[in-house]
């Protein structure tokens, strides 16, 4: 599903070159659940972004669902994301001007699909927000916002889900609830899951843990 080969990422700032990822390689099979862990600044989020086609690597190749991302321009990568990828962010990243229901509908509407309202409503009911369909993000709690984000991530029936610290901004109880939902929905849909987290307990719930340190893979083992 995801093939990373000899990928490096460097940034230039103030005349200095900073290597964030250095010669990383690994593969994630279909339906597999993987956590990427590591200390702050180890390159976790950068790796997740490159894997999802949100940025270009400085070296190496990335294949998503068999499609090499390096050959695609930004618009083609956007279309690919819309077809195969779901996202969950630490800061929820909901569009503040849209209601919960409308936020979930966005990925489907961008595809020009019909019947999106019914499916989005079902997803929100599945995450326990059937009574908050028409609320705006500002009117929802953090946990509720993350659940909307979860429903949105699964709206386009993604082949792979990227989650960046999905419980990082939530209290313990809500974290547990949201994590449970991620894994439940993932199982039901048979989606591949790549999760970036500091939370080792959450990481342990995935089938495999890749540990990063200073831009390198320190370990890659089954949990």
């Amino acid at each position: 599903m995801l093939k990373i080969e000899k990928v490096s990422k460097t940034y230039t700032a103030g005349g200095r070159t900073l290597t964030v990822l250095d010669n990383i390689s690994f593969q994630v099979g279909e339906g597999e659940t993987v956590s990427i862990v590591g200390p702050s600044g180890s390159g976790k989020t950068t790796l997740l972004g490159l894997s999802a086609g949100l940025d270009r690597s400085s070296a190496g190749t990335i294949e998503l669902n068999g499609v090499p991302l390096g050959a695609l321009d930004e618009d083609a990568r956007a279309v690919l994301r819309n077809q195969y990828v779901g996202f969950i962010f630490q800061n929820f990243q909901l569009l503040p001007t849209l209601t919960a229901l409308e936020n979930v509908m966005v990925p489907l509407e961008l595809r020009g699909e019909s019947g999106v309202r019914v499916r989005s409503r079902e997803l929100l009911e599945q995450v326990g927000l059937g009574d908050r369909l028409h609320h705006y993000p500002a009117q929802l709690s953090g946990g509720e916002q993350q659940r909307v984000s979860l429903a949105r991530a699964f709206a386009n029936r993604p082949r792979i889900l990227f989650a960046d610290e999905p419980t990082g901004n939530l209290d313990a109880e809500t974290s547990e609830l949201v994590a449970g939902m991620i894994f439940d929905l993932n199982r039901q849909a048979g989606t591949t899951l790549v999760l970036v987290t500091h939370n080792l307990e959450l990481a342990a719930s995935t089938g495999r843990i890749i540990k990063l340190g200073k831009g390198h893979i320190v370990s890659d083992e089954k949990s």
Partner: protein
């Protein structure tokens, strides 16, 4: 602290203040221009009048008056002006012009500016004419060519570029042609009924002309003469320019206030973004008052910088104003920096920006250190009595500033109330529009449309303020446009349809048959023939004209200050107005109402069959009301030496705005048929070529008959309204531009938010094209709402003006309204998109990481 706190945001703070720069620039330029104008009037008043004293009359001066005016040693000139046809010999075209037959060396101050320069004096010695430069251009004539006036040919000595006291507009309405006075009689254009205006120009060689005019003035007025001195001209022009510059200054002030509202809105967003910083500082021991002062100092500094920039720009702008006003001003204006205006602009700018920014700044005092521990979504300001104090101070400041400009407390209060009301109505309409569209927005519409619209509601949006600022500019321009169109419609109404579009006047009774025959040769219908008799009113309700005018001469009560049939009310509300006795009236006779007339009181007089029948005349109702003449009043007329006693039998409502012949007084038939009279004939031509051919034939056979082609009148009206409109549009443009600057500020302030949204959408799979369409739709909705709000209000204002000022209904020009809508919406979209161009180019990951 203020400096350190603002370090990261200085460019943003400067951006906020950009909204007031234009308002201050407009204010400084108009204030400074106004001062320059006043000084120019003081310097050039003598050149504008061209003499020390001018006496005006519609008949030649009597020997007694001549003697009176000559009682001090002087040089003088005589001018007689009248409307007449001029025929361009080279191309055979003709046109109605204002012939000014002159004798003497007028102007004594200033000059007739001509090309060649020698023509200004040379034409007086020979059978030559000076012709208005635009007229020469329009008819392709040149100095050396010939024109015919009546039966005489005149060589064109030169083109008249400028005449004392006359502006472009007056020259457009009545293009002048100067000829020597001694050729007026031989030209044979003057017949019975011809309307002549005499002007006598005096330059006094000894004594004080002002003092002299003061002495002889009452005696001139007593015999129905008007006079003007340099001081009177200075006064009149100062008042007129005061009105003009007052109007410009107030529009500039409105632009400044719009900008200030934009500043308040931006500062509000700035403070909301600073809440956390302020809460942290409060935790570290900063007092509420100190926190407030930190931001107050920032606003003061940027207010001062913005005002300085605005004032500097104002001086540049001031150099443009003489170009904008060139058609209205009858004189040269010289650029000088008026430093008091410069500093006044800066002071007003700083005060306004500070006052408006205080509204959001006050909330800084209420920011609790507790916010560092618990983020609150509630607005930081709750009830704060100081806010009401600030509102009051703002209102007082606006009233005070407008009072300084208008020098009239009532007007200043009305202006402030009107302004507040307009703001409230615009805000209300903007909010209502948003609410209605949000409620009624079709859920089934494509996602991109819904997202574009939803963007108007993003956090910290400035949608309402943008609609208000752009909307107000649109309201100004729209109202002007609709009223201008309305006036043209009113005139066109009289020209179109089955009525005539060409008027021939000054037809002598023995020429009627000939003219009818000529019209027949050209297959033109005679639509109407109207007889006209000139007469004076000598007595109303037993009150004699000579005694009324005598009272004025002796400083009697209540008859001064009204100078025309539409002039102001006079002081004594029961007395008959003086104007009635002073002026010659043109009267017709008929037994029925004309097309656009309506009987509002009494009954139209029956034909008079015998000497004992009462003569029941009909008056125009506004004429009767204005001069206190009532139904049933006895009125005595002097018809060329014969007294005729009549009674006011009816009042008619007359639509003066229509291009048709209307009369203050209508006699019944059977009275005036034998009186000396002339005719006016109405015919209808089908093409401009036919019009030109017929006019040429009339001028050749009947040189005294004048022809008005109403199509030409329409085009002149259009041109004049266009020239005045340009000035108003120029000033209204400041409001629109301020709105657009607020838009640019708003787009730049929310740029990060827009980038974030764009990145998020692209992360979820939106292509750049889709994101671009969403942005475009957002600006479309914004521009469309502002334009629709502005046009809607403009229609309301224009309808009200049509209803209350012209007592008619407004026909809405939907195509024109559509054009304004498209222009404003397009401009908003263009500016919005241009300023958002960086939004699409940011890599998603960079932005998403910054969120963490």
């Amino acid at each position: 602290m203020a400096w350190r706190d603002s370090r990261r945001d200085q460019s943003r703070l400067l951006l906020f203040i950009a909204a007031i720069v234009l308002g201050i620039a407009a204010l400084v330029s108009t204030l400074s221009f106004g001062r320059n104008l006043r000084e120019d009037v003081d310097d050039q008043a003598r050149e504008l009048l061209g003499a020390d004293l001018v006496i005006r009359s519609n008949r030649p001066l009597s020997k007694a008056v001549e003697k009176l005016a000559d009682s001090l040693p002087n040089k003088h000139s005589e001018e007689c002006s009248f409307a007449s046809m001029v025929y361009f010999v080279r191309n055979g075209q003709s046109r109605l012009v204002q012939v000014r037959a002159i004798e003497g060396d007028y102007p004594y101050y200033g000059a007739l500016e001509t090309t060649p320069a020698a023509a200004a004096t040379g034409f007086r010695e020979k059978q030559e004419a000076l012709v208005d430069k635009t007229l020469l251009l329009q008819y392709g004539a040149h100095p050396g060519d010939s024109i015919r006036i009546g039966e005489l040919n005149f060589a064109i000595a030169g083109s008249l570029d400028k005449a004392p006291g006359r502006n472009e507009i007056s020259m457009t309405v009545a293009p002048p042609v100067y000829i020597p006075l001694r050729y007026m009689e031989p030209a044979g254009v003057l017949k019975k009924g011809s309307r002549l205006d005499y002007q006598y120009y005096y330059k006094y060689l000894q004594g004080d002309p002002e003092q002299f005019a003061e002495q002889i003035g009452p005696r001139l007025e007593a015999v129905g003469l008007h006079y003007e001195t340099v001081a009177m001209r200075k006064n009149r022009m100062t008042n007129a320019f005061h009105d003009l510059t007052e109007f410009m200054t107030l529009i500039s002030f409105i632009a400044l206030l719009l900008g200030a509202v934009g500043v308040a809105s931006s500062v509000n967003i700035y403070i909301r973004e600073k809440v956390n910083d302020i809460a942290i500082l409060r935790c570290l021991g900063l007092k509420a008052r100190q926190a407030f002062l930190v931001y107050l100092v920032q606003v003061l500094v940027i207010g001062l910088l913005g005002s300085l920039a605005g004032a500097g720009l104002g001086l540049v702008l001031q150099q443009l104003l003489p170009v904008v006003f060139k058609d209205i001003l009858p004189m040269e204006t010289r650029f000088r920096v008026a430093w008091p205006a410069f500093f006044e602009g800066i002071a007003v700018g700083v005060t306004v920006s500070l006052l408006f920014a205080l509204l959001p700044l006050l909330s800084v005092r209420k920011i609790s250190p507790l916010l560092t521990l618990r983020v609150s979504l509630e607005p930081v300001h709750g009830r704060d009595p100081l806010r009401w104090l600030v509102y009051t101070v703002i209102l007082c400041f606006i009233t005070w500033f407008s009072y300084l400009r208008m020098e009239n407390g009532r007007k200043a209060v009305v202006f402030t109330a009107g302004l507040v009301l307009t703001f409230l109505v615009l805000t209300g309409v903007a909010r209502l529009f948003l609410l209605l569209i949000r409620r009624a927005f079709p859920e089934r519409w494509p996602y991109l449309w819904r997202q574009g619209f939803a963007n108007l509601f993003r956090p910290n949006n400035q949608t309402v303020i943008l609609i208000v600022t752009i909307g107000l500019g649109t309201t100004f321009i729209g109202t002007l446009f609709f009223v201008q169109q309305f006036l043209i419609d009113r005139v066109t109404a009289g020209v179109g349809g089955g009525e005539g579009n060409m008027v021939l006047f000054d037809i002598q009774p023995d020429q009627v048959k000939g003219i009818e025959g000529l019209a027949g040769q050209y297959h033109l219908p005679v639509k109407q023939e109207i007889p006209i008799v000139t007469m004076r009113i000598v007595e109303v309700r037993g009150e004699r004209g000579d005694s009324v005018l005598g009272q004025v001469a002796e400083g009697g009560p209540g008859r001064r200050g009204a100078d025309g049939p539409a002039g102001g009310r006079h002081a004594d509300s029961n007395a008959v107005g003086r104007w009635v006795f002073e002026n010659e009236l043109r009267v017709t006779y008929r037994d029925s109402l004309a097309g656009a007339e309506k009987l509002v009181a009494g009954q139209l007089g029956a034909p008079v069959r015998g000497p004992n029948d009462p003569i029941m005349i009909s008056l125009a109702d506004d004429f009767a009301r204005r001069w206190n003449i009532r139904l049933g009043d006895p009125v005595v007329f002097d018809v060329q030496g014969i007294r005729i006693a009549t009674v006011v039998g009816s009042l008619r409502k007359v639509e003066w705005q229509r291009l048709q012949l209307s009369f203050f007084v209508v006699f019944p038939s059977g009275v005036l048929e034998r009186a000396p009279q002339f005719d006016v004939m109405l015919t209808k031509v089908r093409t401009p070529e036919e019009s030109a051919r017929f006019q040429r034939a009339v001028v050749e056979k009947f040189p005294n008959v004048s022809v008005i082609d109403l199509q030409l009148v329409l085009s002149v009206l259009d041109e004049v309204l266009g020239k005045i409109g340009d000035v108003i549009r120029f000033m209204a443009g400041f409001c629109i531009l301020t709105g657009l600057i607020v838009l640019i500020t708003s787009v730049l302030i929310s740029k990060y938010q827009r980038i974030r949204e764009s990145v998020l959408l692209r992360t979820l799979g939106a292509t750049r094209r889709q994101v671009r369409i969403i942005l475009l739709l957002e600006y479309f909705f914004l521009g469309a709402l502002a334009a629709a709000t502005g046009i809607l209000l403009a229609l309301v204002f224009a309808k009200a003006l049509a209803r209350w000022s012209f007592e008619a209904s407004l026909r809405i020009h939907w195509v024109a309204a559509g054009e304004i809508f498209v222009a404003i919406t397009g401009l908003t979209m263009l500016i919005g998109l241009y300023n958002s161009r960086g939004v699409l180019n940011r890599p998603p990951l960079e932005v998403l990481r910054r969120e963490e």
